[in-house]
Symmetry: C2
Subunit: 374 residues, 2 copies
Amino acid sequence: MSIFVQTHQDTTSGARLGLLTLGHGTVETPVFMPVGTAGTVKGIFHREVEAIGYSLILGNTYHLYLRPGLEVLDQFGGLHTFSGWGGNLLTDSGGFQVFSLSNLRKIEEQGVAFQSHIDGSRHLFTPESVVDTQRVIGSDIAMVLDVCTPPQIDFRKAKEAMELTHRWAQRALSHRSALGDAFAGKLFGIVQGNFYEELRSASAAYFNEMDFDGIAIGGLSVGETKEQFSHFLAHTAAQVTRTKPRYVMGIGSPDYILEAVENGIDMFDCVLATRMARNGGLFTRDGVITMKKAIHRYDKAPIEEGCSCLACTTYSRAYLHHLFKSGEMLGPMLATLHNLTYFYTFMQEVRSSIAENRFASFKRQYLERFYGPR
Amino acid sequence: MSIFVQTHQDTTSGARLGLLTLGHGTVETPVFMPVGTAGTVKGIFHREVEAIGYSLILGNTYHLYLRPGLEVLDQFGGLHTFSGWGGNLLTDSGGFQVFSLSNLRKIEEQGVAFQSHIDGSRHLFTPESVVDTQRVIGSDIAMVLDVCTPPQIDFRKAKEAMELTHRWAQRALSHRSALGDAFAGKLFGIVQGNFYEELRSASAAYFNEMDFDGIAIGGLSVGETKEQFSHFLAHTAAQVTRTKPRYVMGIGSPDYILEAVENGIDMFDCVLATRMARNGGLFTRDGVITMKKAIHRYDKAPIEEGCSCLACTTYSRAYLHHLFKSGEMLGPMLATLHNLTYFYTFMQEVRSSIAENRFASFKRQYLERFYGPR
């Protein structure tokens, strides 16, 4: 049975509404997932994340595997119990972090060997082991191990990486079958192909035929230009089946999210909202404001008029300015609460605009106000 | 009219119960005040501080004067509005921080000149100016500027410092009178005299005759031995009038608090509870546990069985261990919530034991369990 039902197709764009049914409840799409790297969304209680409205967050397999480690998670029956998170949990495969955080790594047919960025210890991720790891974590959605490649590698290397990604995906599926009911989550494949149309098409076609519960478009937002992103997002999205939930990993900013939604993408995640919050970057409809700027020193206005979060209903920009200037923890705490509220509200508005067949104009107006005339 | 009413005297010790009526409500004493240095109790929302039960917290005049600064606080009508704190606020005079944080300082008859530890800018605190500063902050209880001296200075120097403290206290009182209704808070004097009985007695006698709303015993817990602390606390407390609220500044740990209560002290403050929390030191009835220790890696128990805080009702020690090992903000956040809950509950138990005339045995049993047999 499919975990995804498309409930509405916007008439002004490729955007769509859907319902994603997972182990810990049903999620309205398009959905933005806050990132809870190591079993906590940084700077905020899980109950506050839930109170805002989020019912699906992302955890990082690489981090969780290293700390607290599988022995601990196993003893606690998974991350939900361990971290007190009652909603749905998606975990990445760990592959991206191996490529971006680990010093030493070696990709072989078998999997990827790497050294921990924490203590230098040696580990091996295989397509099978990361399924096992995500089973222990208790992920509602697990991702397959893939080979992430940077922009500007040559065609031959990109093709090899894609083909290895495909073989790994097949092994992950076989392993999931072998596990049977012991694996309770859903499993998503990841389309690769670097920045080559031919490869992207081939990879999309490959995954369309496989027995995954959803499909991610990987290898975007990895350092390419905005034009490359747009082009390859549209190119790939057009070829990925619309019968399954479609996920673009690692985005992001409102413009990238809107572009993904426009292309019928249902899911995305990014650290941007929470990381910027910790650095004093606060989201408003009129763009990001930098809380440390002297202009806010006497500013009695809330971060954003009409926002329902604790930071906006209780405090002034001047107080937030003071907290960030003084390096007080409460600054990042309030900013995280605000930015996550902002992104949740933003996605509600996105969904409303789709339901009312006005996504195209919503996107245009939103971008104009947020980024200014371009 | 006195702001303090003694409601009960323990029959087994010098401990007493009282009610302290201030601008933002009545406070049961003995009371422990969490420290909110710069307009925030670090790592916790003010509403959580209130939810635990606290109705009186401390702010640091030195920090608030430098940041956000008086111009900002003045525009916001004080720290209550600025920081969203609805309870009572006590501020120190800033003197102690000038002595402990500022690089350059010079004490003269007029006041104390110092350089900001933040930007090196030069400032002068006088007995009058710190009353003005605390008026702008909107403190419910303001403290007079005093001269803090370290242990082991000679008698002559200690006497000079005390006499200057006395002259400054007189100037503060005169300034308060001159301000009239413009100064809405209460003003406390601070007994000094270093570690000389004769001086402590003289200082207590001096302040007993003055028109302060309460009296603090200053210059304790400044690096002296535990024996010195005990001796000079008892010596001084015995000579300070019992008609006013009695405050020992900068304590503390449960043993110091119990000793103060035993000597009829009504108020104390300390960063210990919150600072230790941020470093992973968690208070339990059986002593402080160090959350980073490997022993907690698989520990399914809460920090403390029966504790009502979010950390204890939702999470295991193993999760807290993971958070502190991973350097996640949520560790300090949960630990602060727990430690402040611990100290509030502790003070409730202290007050119950006094009400039931069993403080002496409560103290003995508490210390034995917390610190182990000595």
